[in-house]
Amino acid sequence: AQSVTQPDIHITVSEGASLELRCNYSYGATPYLFWYVQSPGQGLQLLLKYFSGDTLVQGIKGFEAEFKRSQSSFNLRKPSVHWSDAAEYFCAVGPMNNFNKFYFGSGTKLNVKP
């Protein structure tokens, strides 16, 4: 069965510090992987996606993610966090045969200390 695990429920980092949010997935075929961000009162905004090719994916707002097949992971990173990055982040897996039936993790809430 498909599943996505985000082991960190809450993370607090200082502004300017680096960030890594973890995502592990379980899927029986080649996964299509996504990271979304959700601010209060907002819908989900796509940060980046991975389909194939280069395992290091660049996204918007300075985020990047690395796909590691051997570890079934797709961790999100940012070298220097800004206060405006405080939000909830969701990792998602999309199956090959259904483009929009996503399986989401339970999210990681990011707090940024000044």
Binding site: Y32, G43, L44, F99, N100, K101, F102, F104
Partner: protein, 116 residues
């Protein structure tokens, strides 16, 4: 260019009632998916509509039904509301191109449903 819009923003209902939520997709999109996001959880796929037909369905009871109109807008209906139906309901739209790389979903801000 308007993105995905949903109405209403908030809704309060009592157990046993019925509710209808509405979604207008992003301009040019023809596929609408609905998700339920319970508090502290990630969104869960309810169903997806394309060409006015339900194309895929998640693990939700028949109390959850939907419709897509010729202008691609969509409704989500929930009958016999339960306390557990309280959640944020998200609508997402996309354009079906048959190409995985370009079928990107855009999400609306959601409708917050509270069942008392």
């Amino acid at each position: 260019d308007a993105g995905v819009t949903q109405s209403p923003t908030h809704l309060i209902k009592t157990r046993g009632q019925q509710v209808t939520l509405r979604c207008s997709p992003k301009s040019g999109h023809d596929t609408v998916s609905w998700y339920q996001q319970a508090l502290g959880q990630g969104p869960q796929f309810i169903f997806q509509y394309y060409e006015e037909e339900e194309r895929q369905r998640g693990n939700f009871p028949d109390r959850f039904s939907g419709h897509q109109f010729p202008n691609y807008s969509s409704e989500l209906n929930v009958n016999a509301l339960l306390l557990g139906d309280s959640a944020l309901y998200l609508c997402a739209s996309s354009l079906f191109t048959g190409q995985r790389e370009t079928d990107t979903q855009y999400f609306g801000p959601g409708t917050r449903l509270t069942v008392l």
